[in-house]
């Protein structure tokens, strides 16, 4: 009896149910996408702020260099670190600064370097700052006879330097296991603790938090998160309204059927039960459909906006929240509508008024 009611309902009111199903599925898909965006907006933007490079800089407190071990220690604490050793060499009549760096460690910390040519250099190769007026392919006898592989432009000190592999700088400077500057990028939530640990372990070095980056990052991420949150609420609110209106119409439309059921002696509670279970089934199916679409949409959006791979991620927690929201919206809508069942009088309806 129960299933027959629902099956019949499906067959005879296809259009009506499709409309309600459509509204619920769109709502579920929107909710999935919005929750996915809200949940990952932090991480995504923290990644983006990685483009600013280091948020901690280690420089000599006294003397002219610091232990190279700082870089390894920072990496052990979960940060990425790139040591630089600055020395000098003659270029023609001028003394020019030469900075040694480790290309594969430096690359993730300095995505903002503009390099013509290749920035991945090996022993015997180097990069030249754009202000030096050198060209790719030039050989610099004074700097360990290296060949210029790329021209670098950053708007910072690198523009006037020769950049060589770390090992080359070590042999030019005649010192080992030291660095002039270590750039460190710590995850923003562990920033102060990593800085504190390093500072207590290496008292000879001075660890500076790059305030500009840290503050801008914290401010922007918080604000974007708050904006996305407010907007998500607004959108969910308006979608709920859409679903509500669809469901309450379903009861009104079937006043005649309800009248017949009542005339046949069905209790109001039982009729209401039909409606509630019908919409629960509808909501569940719509949630599954909407969630599936939403997961792919969220992955496509993630790829489109933030770059990276197309990775649909199923998160059961998000699914449960979406399902809970959809079920309660559908239940609420039907409950409001079903309250009218008590006011439907079989005789009046059947007479055709």
């Amino acid at each position: 009896m129960f299933f027959r009611f629902i099956l019949r309902a499906l067959r005879y009111r296809k259009q009506r149910l499709l409309l309600a199903f459509g509204a619920l599925a769109v709502a579920a898909a929107l909710a999935t996408v919005l929750f996915a965006i809200y949940g990952s907006v932090d991480k995504r933007f923290h990644e983006q702020f990685g483009a600013y490079g280091a948020n901690i800089v280690a420089v000599p407190g006294s003397g002219s260099n610091i232990p190279l071990g700082i870089a390894a220690a920072a990496e052990k604490l979960g940060a990425s670190a790139a040591p630089f050793l600055v020395t000098s060499a003659h270029l023609g009549n001028d003394m020019i600064p030469v900075a040694g760096f480790i290309p594969y460690k430096t690359a993730p910390l300095t995505p903002y370097w503009h390099v013509q040519g290749s920035r991945d250099i090996h022993e015997g190769e180097c990069l030249a700052g754009e202000q030096l007026g050198l060209h790719i392919g030039d050989t610099l006898g004074a700097v360990a006879g290296c060949t210029v592989k790329g021209i670098v432009s950053t708007g910072g000190a690198e523009d006037g330097e020769i950049l060589v592999p770390y090992a080359t700088a070590v042999s030019l400077a005649g010192v080992a296991n030291v660095a002039s500057v270590v750039e460190i990028r710590a995850p923003s939530d562990g920033l102060e603790s990593i800085r504190g640990t390093l500072a207590s372990r290496y008292p000879s070095a001075q660890f500076r938090t790059v305030r500009a980056v840290a503050e801008a990052e914290a401010g922007v991420v918080l604000k974007i998160r708050a904006a996305v949150f407010l907007i998500t609420l607004l959108i969910l609110g308006i979608t709920t309204l859409c679903v509500l209106s669809n469901f309450s119409e379903m009861v009104v439309e079937r006043a005649k059927e309800i009248g017949i059921l009542k005339a046949l002696g069905a209790a109001e509670r039982r009729i209401a039960g039909f409606f509630v279970s019908e919409s629960a089934v509808l909501a569940l199916v719509a949630t599954i459909a909407g969630y599936t679409v939403g997961v792919f949409a969220a992955a496509a959006i993630g790829k489109e906006i933030f770059g990276g791979d197309f990775r649909p991620q199923t998160d059961w927690f998000v699914f449960l929240i979406v399902a809970a929201v959809m079920l309660s919206v559908a239940a609420l809508a039907t409950a409001i509508a079903a309250s009218r069942i008590w006011n439907i009088h079989a005789a009046v309806i059947l007479r055709g008024e």
Partner: protein, 419 residues
């Protein structure tokens, strides 16, 4: 006749009509506020990101090279050429002058091992539009933390001139706020200790004119940090201006890309070199792009759900009125007149809801601006007008299909079935 029909319809079911108007209003409110927020969020975040410091640095063309890493100077410079202080404010008079939010000149000097920088702490000047404006080091670097206070440029007679020292320097020399320190043989009072995270931490900051006097470099500086609101760079911005046609160059020059602003500064102050600070400018562009994309997407979602709501609500109410339509047709109304009557009614509902929603939406946008950015969001006056039109169109679109179906049904059948 039409008016009477609508009046009657509203009188018969006032609650229902109010509900639809409310739903249309809510949809339009969400659409208005979202569009308002989206259109201004780029500018808000841009200002937020300007906390990261200057994005253009201006140096004399002939200045000697510096060594170091990023913003860290690792070797000493002995500059030979300077920028005239009188030229600095020309930066404000370039085409994009209004987008320049801060200017901070600097003259670096050495007193033995001590690095001394002359800066504008809080410099008041007359802007090209004749208003008085203030700029300086604190304006360009709002994220720096000062314990105590920034130094005053001019102090009353018989008081010691003031200075600010970097955190690292203060720690090493054991200087505190209120101490009197000697620089180039003159005594200065420390009013604040600054923590910046860059080499300023190891410097002493004096008012610019003091460093100029003490080092006999009157009226010159050797570096200017400029903070400008820019548009994220795209492929067009990265092209070499020398290879552009006249029309392309015009467009390039009239867009506030960081490179075109730098180019204009070079033109305004001959003998200088203005370079974008890649670390700041590139990252900023990237983040602004992402935020723009995110907001456009969410706005699309909001418009979609608002449109769907209005559409489905008008559709369901029209479906219910099949009986009414049948009666009108049975007593001789033509299809066209039925459609006109209902169309006018729906348009009025859309209009009322749209106006109500647009007004609420502007307030909502202001609320989002206040609560998220602590700054109001100005919604362009054309937006509410567009939204009202959209509300009417969407409501009519929602009504059209059910009404068309209803007028095509045989009135007799509809009336007998009582649907």
């Amino acid at each position: 006749m039409i008016l009477r029909f609508v009046k009657d319809s509203v009188r018969r079911a006032p609650r229902r009509k109010a509900l639809i108007v409310a739903a249309v209003a809510m949809g339009s409110a969400v659409a208005t506020s979202m569009l308002g927020v989206m259109l201004s969020i780029g500018d808000k975040v841009n200002r937020e990101l300007r906390q990261a410091g200057s994005n253009i640095v201006v140096t004399p063309k002939a200045a000697s090279l510096r060594g170091g890493v990023g913003a860290e100077t690792a070797t000493v410079t002995g500059g030979a050429a300077y920028i005239r202080e009188a030229d600095i404010l020309k930066i404000k008079s370039i085409f994009w002058g209004l987008n320049i939010t801060g200017i901070s000149p600097m003259l670096l000097a050495h007193d033995g091992p001590l690095q001394v920088a002359g800066v504008w702490f809080s410099h008041t000047y007359r802007a090209p539009d004749n208003s008085m404006q203030t700029t300086g080091i604190s304006e360009v670097n709002p994220s720096w933390v000062v314990r105590g206070a920034w130094a005053r440029e001019e102090v009353p007679d018989k008081k010691l001139p003031e200075c600010v020292v970097g955190e690292g320097m203060a720690l090493r020399r054991n200087w505190k706020i209120g101490d009197d320190i000697e620089i180039f043989g003159d005594t200065f009072r420390v009013t604040g200790i600054v923590s910046s995270g860059d080499e300023t931490d190891d410097r002493v900051l004096l008012p610019l004119h003091w460093v100029q006097d003490l080092t006999h470099h009157p009226g010159v500086v050797d570096r200017i940090d400029v903070s400008a609101l820019t548009k994220p760079e795209d492929d067009f911005a990265r092209r070499d201006p020398k290879t552009m046609s006249a029309a392309e160059f015009e467009r390039w020059n009239c867009t506030n890309y960081v490179v075109s602003i730098a180019h204009e500064i070079e033109q305004a102050i001959p003998g200088t070199q203005a370079r974008p600070v890649r670390r700041i400018a590139d990252s900023e562009g990237k983040i602004l792009d992402r935020i723009g994309g995110l907001m456009a997407l969410i706005t699309l979602a909001a418009l979609l759900s608002a449109g769907l709501t209005v559409w489905s609500l008008t559709a369901t109410t029209m479906m219910e009125r099949r009986g009414e339509i049948a009666i009108m047709q049975a007593i001789g109304a033509s299809r066209a007149s039925v459609a006109t009557l209902l169309g006018v009614e729906v348009s009025l509902i859309g209009l009322a809801g749209g106006v109500l929603g647009a007004v609420t939406g502007v307030e909502l946008a202001r609320f989002v601006g206040q609560s998220v950015f602590h700054d109001s969001i100005a919604v362009s006056p054309i937006l509410p007008v567009l939204i009202v039109i959209a509300a009417v169109v969407v409501a009519l679109a929602g009504a059209s299909q059910p009404v068309r179906r209803a007028v095509n049904l045989e009135p007799a059948i509809v009336l007998r079935e009582g649907v």
